[in-house]
């Protein structure tokens, strides 16, 4: 883990950790939280110069601390290392956002078990391992918030999304169970279930899926990443202090 700012979290200030934030929804969440004076530990597979420059500029503008932590959710070793780095940094964590994800398409008959396992590794097992490693910090300090990026795809059925949908359904159950297990330590756990959101993932889903989702959506448009970020901020804040174990849909009316 590498701090890219001189500034570090001080007593009484808030810090969040997020995975998959070099683009898409994760990036919008980082922007929102930094704007609200959160310090950020940004977990990414690869931090290129553009990402570093962007994060460093944001951190200077808002005078918050930012660190980059290498994390590849497809590798158990990488996750273990990230956990060790974050725990040993001794930063007091307030929020963990399990955001990174991959989408895979294919009818069940056309999908190998290996490909289902690969999707689950990133969308589910990786987050489970990271969470298992980091919750010790929340337990120790008796408080914190965990947000899991789920999807309406884990609740509503769409043909050809069996591996993605199942992995998100697993995240939904994980969210609910963790909320029960962690409530005694003052930790809230919620899930966000966006519908189609304007990111690279949307492009990867193809025209047909986009059309089908718009057809099912009352507001006849997709979500902006910033709209999902606003919901994440609300669920992380004390404004939502009695909300736990919920999966909040953000779907424009489906």
């Amino acid at each position: 883990m590498e701090w890219i700012s001189e500034r570090r979290p001080a007593e009484g200030e808030r810090t969040m950790v997020i995975s998959g934030c070099n683009r898409g929804i994760g990036r919008a969440i980082v922007e929102k939280f930094i704007g609200e004076r959160y310090h950020v530990i940004a977990c990414v597979r690869e931090a290129d110069d553009v990402f570093r420059g962007w994060l460093s500029e944001l951190s200077q503008r808002e005078n918050v601390g930012c660190a980059i932590c290498q994390l590849d959710l497809s590798s158990e070793e990488s996750i273990s290392k990230a956990v060790k780095d974050i725990v040993s940094s001794k930063v007091k964590l307030d929020v963990l956002i399990n955001n990174a994800g991959v989408v895979t398409k294919g009818l069940l008959q056309m999908t190998s078990i290996q490909s289902i396992k690969d999707t689950f590794q990133v969308n589910f097992f990786g987050h489970v391992q990271l969470t298992q490693g980091l919750i010790r910090m929340f337990i120790r300090q008796k408080g914190g918030v965990i947000l899991n990026m789920c999807s309406v795809g884990g609740m509503d059925a769409y043909p050809a999304y069996v591996s993605y949908g199942c992995s998100k359904a697993a995240m939904i159950y994980f969210t609910k169970t963790m909320s029960q297990e962690l409530a005694p330590y003052g930790v809230r756990v919620n899930g966000i279930a966006p519908s189609m959101t304007d990111t690279r993932m949307r492009e990867q889903m193809g025209e047909e899926a986009n059309e089908e989702i718009l057809r099912r959506t009352a507001m006849k448009r997709v979500a902006e990443p910033s709209e999902v970020a606003n919901l994440a901020y609300y669920l992380a804040s004390s404004e939502s202090s009695f909300i736990t174990g919920q999966i909040v849909r953000i779907d424009g009316g489906m």
Partner: protein, 78 residues
């Protein structure tokens, strides 16, 4: 503070037991050492000795005595 004192202190504070009960203390022997108390105890020990335990060791940590063996793996001599 000596390691053994830190170790005992973690039990006394998180499980609300007295020192004379420690030697034979096992998981579930007292009400406070339930699954919630267990995680609080593990967090207290990690904090006290500046270590990070593997999940298997957290699961295996079934008694005061067993805990001593486990902490040895992390370079904590008791």
């Amino acid at each position: 503070m000596a390691n053994i004192e830190k170790y005992n202190q973690a039990f006394i504070e998180t499980l609300e037991v007295t020192e004379d009960k420690l030697a034979t203390l096992k998981y579930h022997d007292v009400e406070a050492w339930d699954s919630v108390g267990h995680m609080t105890l593990m967090a207290a020990l990690e904090d006290a000795f500046d270590i990070m335990m593997e999940t298997e060791d957290i699961v295996d940590f079934s008694s005061y005595e067993k805990g001593k063996e486990i902490l040895k793996k992390y370079g904590v001599d008791l």
